[in-house]
Each structure stands twice: as structure tokens, then as C-alpha cells.
Point group: C2
Chain length 323, copies 2
DNA sequence: CAAGCCAGGTTTAACGTTACACACTCGGGC
DNA sequence: GCCCGAGTGTGTAACGTTAAACCTGGCTTG
């Protein structure tokens, strides 16, 4: 018990005793047993970060920041890959698996808000991305609709009139993509450009390969686009790749704008214009909200935090010399 | 106890009882408490994956595969970012932190083999990358020297004579980079090209920014290179960026070869030639070795597994039309 | 028909920690 | 001289799980 008091820095331990204990700890190499602590405390000290996959530039960068924020608050983060699969998402929410966590930061893809609410069942939860009217937990978002509108307006301002939007997804929980489509349509309308469903192909996964495939199909089609607004940077990189493969120039023949503000976009060739959400802010707020919800309990009302974004204009969408 | 038997599928439970227990579990929503299990078992069911940072394409892709392999074997993976910092590496090895793990897969950077051995102190350990003569644990490697030699020989075969090597690092534990430098020098020697220290600049971190900086400095120097062998794909992407910034063409003016075989390299512009280690194999073997060492104890001798690699030749190092 | 065995189920104890109650000592204060 | 309280330190019990020992009837076996 005295050892416990010393280790935890509890009062009522004399300096002499404290010293003696610390020396002994050092000598015999005592390390507190976390399982016992967790059992006793009813906590695990770990939280989950449930995302589709970690080898997505955006989630990798976000994970880096989130791990740092978590460490600062004394939490360990456990990354769970849901692959956008409903069953895996359900499992992550319910907290199955050999390692228990006290809550999670979740980026839903397959599940809609109601299902998320049902599965989480009172577990402390912070959602990333838009969630319909009210989320089943705290929510951290960016203004997807506004950001998309800006991005597309930027392309239209360059004189482009056949702007494709790549990233609408058949997955149910991708409210983010619906908002971005809405922003896209709003920008088109504002410029008096009719919406053409064929220019908004669906993709299953936000990968470079699917970006290249989707944009390649558009470029090979009867009425190719002259610009692409991709819903993430990996899709955008795929779009650039598809254009190059066909001997088209970026941005002259095809202007491209991405989303996520990843480092990869910055070092692309040409450097990629992209909507950069405040990733550090998102990571910080997500951990802050989760920490509060876990420690302060569930009398807190659900909160929504909106983080800023910025359109980083780069070479992939500069006005072409001749146009 | 009977519940425990049912949950674990132990024998000596009648079908009737089993049924009754399962129904009750369902009804009251019983979930086994992992902390108690871990306390009882003396295990945590989790392993660490200690790497510099997760927002490095290679580690992100490797993490994805490792998480999958681990899940298949019933392990949870905890990613720890060491930032290449000695103190953080020591902590990861010793298993500090609020969440205990039963072992780890470790990519050392700051620490040398002896320090690793001292810190790990008997914890089940699998090392990624070369470790001098004998590792302080199981080791999974690729033939760094051979791979580097192939890559550089490929550049020399294109007629390049001023091949830079970017990636030698001042960090102590980067045995990988020493081997790659060795392969680089071997290839030069074989082709009768003298080694020029100025063409092998040091970098602190394997990031796109440092790749661009290092190669930019070389290109701005008195005797610029006509080819670059970068020690990872991010450095290579930075190299391409630096060349483009200066109006140079890749591969005509500067051929570039990377290392890691990341998806990013494939979709680069131009697509990046890269040495692709068998990442899936590395992930699989690493988890297999770690699993065996944890479950079978330490009477096992240290093992070294060498995985294959492949030089993927792409646009960034094709023979220039005119050369 | 007693002994033995077996399937099915229960009790005990222990894993390491810590909240809480309890015990002891030593200076004052009345 | 007695009590009080502050400052220290110790004992107890409980967190949820499970290996191992232990019951308990019914059934086989010699």
C-alpha cells in the first residue's frame, strides 16, 4: 500500500519512506501492473481510433497528430482499421477485440448515424465528419459544403466549364461526400453551369487506383472534363496520373483540385491544389472532447466543433498560359 | 465459473446449460472484462509496433499489413511513434506507458543493437532492418546492400555517371542506411566510377521536404548529379520535386530511383522507379516470429528472416530518348 | 452390490492494485 | 494527566477472471 502511495504520489508518506521505496523499486525493477490497475480502476487508459485504413495519407497524417495529442493527455491510442466494412465498424464501436478501450474517435463510412448510436451504446464517442442532423456523440467537422464550393468556384473562375466531381460513394455513412457534392452543385449553379450526373462518378474507395480509374473513364468518354475536383488527395493524384497516361497536360488540359492538404499533394508534380482542413486542430479537439467525455461522464450534452480549412492553390490548377 | 467455461468453449458443459448461459449473456449484455483476463493470464494480448512516425508512406503501408496479420493471430497492435528519438525508443522498448504490451516489432533509428538489447531486457522483440552482426532479438530484413547495388547499377547502365545517394543519416541505429551506402559504393566500383562523398549528403529525416532540400542543394552546387538513388520513396519524391522546381526534366536531366515500393511512387509523375521489399512478407514474418517468441518462450534461438525485394523500373529512370 | 469412473457443475484461491478503514506515535492544549 | 488531532503507516476487501481442486449423482464394471 505504501508503495502504491509512493508511486501515485499520494500524500502521507514521509520523505524517508518515500526514498526507501524508490530505491527498492529501482533495485528490484518493479513496474506497476497495468492490467491490475485497469481492473481496479475500471478503465483501460486506451482509446480507439477507428478509420478505414491507415495507409491513406490523410488518416496517416491525422493519426500522427492524434497519437501526439493523446500522449499529452496520458492516453494510449489503438488504431483499428474498419476497411469501410459495416461489420468491422460495428465491432470497433462496441469495443470488441482483445484490448478494451475507454472510448473512441471514429470516422464512419458504412454505418449511418442511427446505427452508430445503436452500436456505441453509451461508449464515449467522438465522430469525425458530418453526421446528418445530430450525431450520436461529439462531432468534429469541417465545412465540407463550403469548402467544396470554394474549390469548385476556383476551378470555374479559371474558365473551366466541365468540372468533374470524383468521390461520391455508395457507402451509406459517407455524409461528408454528400456535403461535398452539395457544395459542388451550389458552385455550379452559382456560375450558371448545369449539373451533369455523368461528371460525378462514384468510387468505392478513396485510393489512387480508383481515382485514376474513374477519371480515366471520364477522359476516355465522349465528353471529357476539363477539370476535376477530387474528394481526397489520393483520388486527385490518381486523376493526375490518368491524365498523364493519356498524354494530357495538367493543368492546361485538366485542372485538378484535391482535398485533405496532405504532404503528398504538396510534393506532387505538378503540386496539387487542395483543400486543407486544420488537421492539427481536428486531432486536438477530437482528443479534448473524448477526454472530457470519458472523465466527466455522460451528463455532458453532445457538442459539435467546426474546424477551419484553407484552399491551397498550387500548380495543378493555375490558369493555363494560353487559356 | 460455468459462464467462463461456456465463453471459452471449455468442455464439461451440457448443451442445456450452455444454451441457458448464452441466452442470459445475450439478455444482460455481458462482456468479458479484458483487464481481469489479462491480470489473471499475465498477458495483455497486445503488441507494440514502434516506428519513427506513422505518416511515412512506408510505415503506413507496413502498419496496415501488420495490423491485419496481427488480427489474424488474435493480437491487437499499438502503434508507438518514436520520432527517431533515443529516449522515446528506450521507452517503447522497455514497455512503459499506460498500456502494457507483451512484445514489440521495432524499427530502430537512434539506438544501436547493444542499447536495444539492454533496454528490451528479455521482452519478446522482433527487429526490422539490419542490426550489425547479431540482433538482440529476431530480425526481419531485406538484402539492403544487394538491393542498393541493383538500383545503382540500373542507373549506371543508363549511362549516368554522377549518381547521388540520398539517405545516409547521422542517427546511430540506421544500419540499413550504412548497408545501402555500401551497395551504392559497390555498384560504383564495379562500374569504375569513383566515389564522391559530396554526392552522398546526409539527411536527418526521411521526409519529402528533406529529400527536396538535400537534392536541391546538390543541383545548385558546382557539380550536380545526373541521377539520384534515394533511400526511401519520400526522399525520392522530394528529389523529383527539387528537380522540377529548377526546370530540370525527370528522367532526362535527373534520373531518380526510390526505395520502399510504396503506392505513392507508382502514381507519381513520372512514376517512380523503386526498390520494393516484400512488405506483406515482412509483416507476416514479423508477426509470426513475435507470436512464436511470446507463446513459446525464450528458449528459442534468435532467428533472422530475409525477405525478397524487386526493382520496379518506371518512368523516373527510363533511358532518355536523346541520351 | 460395492468400487470405480465419468460427465457436469461448484468452490477456492490467486493475479496486482488501491479506496477505505483502522492503528500507532508524537506534540501540543486544556 | 488526559484528550485531540495531525502525520504516518498498515490491514482489509474488492475489482473479474480462471486453473485446479473439489463435490455429486448416475452408470458401468468386476
Amino acid at each position: 500500500m505504501t508503495v502504491s502511495n509512493v508511486v501515485r504520489g499520494a500524500p502521507n508518506v514521509s520523505d524517508a519512506t518515500r526514498q526507501r521505496v524508490l530505491e527498492t523499486i529501482e533495485r528490484i525493477g518493479y513496474v506497476p501492473n497495468s492490467s491490475a490497475r485497469n481492473l481496479r480502476a475500471g478503465r483501460s487508459g486506451a482509446v480507439s481510433f477507428a478509420i478505414p485504413t491507415i495507409d491513406n495519407s490523410y488518416f496517416a497524417e491525422l493519426a500522427r497528430l492524434l497519437l501526439d495529442e493523446a500522449a499529452a493527455l496520458g492516453w494510449t491510442v489503438l488504431i483499428e482499421q474498419t476497411k469501410g466494412d459495416g461489420e468491422l465498424e460495428r465491432r470497433a464501436l462496441a469495443g470488441y477485440g482483445p484490448t478494451p478501450t475507454d472510448g473512441l474517435v471514429f470516422f464512419p463510412q458504412a454505418l449511418v448515424a442511427d446505427e452508430v448510436a445503436a452500436q456505441a451504446a453509451g461508449r464515449p464517442l467522438v465522430l469525425l465528419g458530418e453526421q446528418g442532423d445530430r450525431g450520436p456523440g461529439d462531432v468534429v467537422i469541417v465545412d465540407n459544403e463550403g469548402a467544396a464550393r470554394e474549390a469548385v468556384a476556383h476551378l470555374l473562375a479559371l474558365g473551366r466549364r466541365r468540372v468533374a466531381a470524383v468521390g461520391e460513394s455508395p457507402a451509406a455513412g459517407t455524409e461528408n461526400s454528400h456535403r461535398r457534392i452539395a457544395g459542388y452543385r451550389a458552385a455550379l449553379e452559382e456560375a450558371g453551369v448545369p449539373f451533369e450526373p455523368a461528371l460525378a462518378p462514384r468510387v468505392d474507395h478513396y485510393t489512387r487506383a480508383e481515382g485514376a480509374e474513374a477519371v480515366g473513364a471520364l477522359l476516355d468518354g465522349p465528353a471529357p472534363p476539363d477539370a476535376v475536383f477530387a474528394f481526397n488527395d489520393m483520388l486527385a493524384v490518381g486523376a493526375v496520373h490518368a491524365a498523364r497516361e493519356r498524354g494530357l497536360r495538367v493543368p492546361e488540359d485538366l485542372a485538378v483540385v484535391g482535398f485533405d492538404g496532405t504532404d503528398e499533394a504538396r510534393y506532387c508534380n505538378p503540386p496539387l491544389t487542395t483543400v486543407a482542413p486544420d488537421k492539427r486542430g481536428i486531432a486536438r479537439e477530437a482528443m479534448r472532447l473524448l477526454n472530457e467525455r470519458i472523465t466527466r461522464g455522460d451528463d455532458l450534452p453532445y457538442r459539435t466543433v467546426r474546424m477551419g480549412h484553407e484552399l491551397l492553390v498550387r500548380g495543378s490548377s493555375l490558369a493555363a498560359a494560353g487559356s
